[in-house]
Symmetry: C3
Subunit: 150 residues, 3 copies
């Protein structure tokens, strides 16, 4: 198929797809965990769940759930822009020499951020966040470079 | 135009576009409703709105608004990864035989989730969420398959 | 490279990439500011940060931080769907005559929304949000048009 980007001829697209798969899994694991830990903790945020499971209903989540949701929200705030920029970079014809190191640093930084956030490890959380932010800024610069040299 | 994916020659892309349209509408309706219901309820979350409409200002939203925002956040957490993966699947050259059933199940599950969340219907909310999650995992597997057989 | 969309031959893709760059920057600035203002304000939302910086820990953010997070959440709720639809529009072969005015209105409306939200200026916040919403609905209609005339 002519329009396909997914064959071996475009390794930058392959890197982008793998990044999308790993980070989507990261996001979904955080989200599903927050619901699972809330249910395990015997509290409910919706009255219908409280009635169903005989659990007390509270607007405020227990600390472990609130922490998971903060980690998830931080992941959303950084991962969605990065994946959109990564896709745009590859569609613009950007190569692997820049994509692979940036994508790798971002993936490692984001997985590390989830782990150290849940384990309450500072200053590692701030370091992991800063690394993911720098990788995003580097990707923005790379997108601009591809546009200017096209 | 040669690079276009949108003509009849690529029905998988067409399915992806329709999925993106329907689910974007789903997200925007939840978001706009949350603001509309808050305004109707005569409360404000911003002091400038309270001053403007003579409404009491509260950090905590009334239950109906909080429920809409929870439904919206759940929709965001599942729909954005799915749409990115769906786009990547189609760009990789994935076909309709897998895309159409997975996209259809996801759309139905997500619309059902919004409705039953707002109507506080359990266990349907959990079932709809689980179906949308399984469709996402199936799409991830499909993306991997396309990459490996390309 | 044949599959590339990024060369001068496709100005609609160029417009889409610039939109993605500007709005990603908008999102990241709101997000980073919320963390920076919280740290400056001498409060912590995580106990490990409170211990590290000798700051009181509170589940509820101070008003300036809560405002930034509301502005960020509004930006997320509107920008991600728009960028996905914009990418889909360009991949479907949509032209610049429709893309450039819609993308421009959306960018201006979103940047204005961030500014007037942080400055608590009404009714400008509502006007900016409505403009961004209308631009999104116009983009949805444009995507449908491209599909039907392809």
């Amino acid at each position: 198929m002519q329009q396909s980007l997914g064959n071996g001829a475009n390794p930058a697209f392959l890197a982008c797809v793998l990044t999308c798969l790993v980070l989507s899994l990261n996001l979904l694991m955080l989200w599903v965990s927050s619901g699972a830990i809330r249910a395990q903790g015997g509290v409910a945020i919706n009255p219908e769940d409280g009635a169903r499971y005989g659990a007390p209903v509270s607007e405020l989540d227990p600390p472990a759930v609130a922490r998971l949701l903060r980690a998830h929200r931080n992941a959303e705030a950084t991962i969605y822009p990065f994946l959109l920029l990564g896709l745009v970079y590859v569609l613009a014809g950007g190569g692997t020499r820049i994509a692979v190191p940036i994508f790798t640093i971002f993936i490692v930084a984001r997985i590390a951020h989830s782990i150290v956030y849940l384990r309450a490890m500072q200053p590692w959380r701030t370091i992991a966040f800063a690394a993911s932010l720098l990788a995003t800024l580097a990707l923005m610069a790379a997108v601009l470079c591809v546009l200017l040299t096209a």
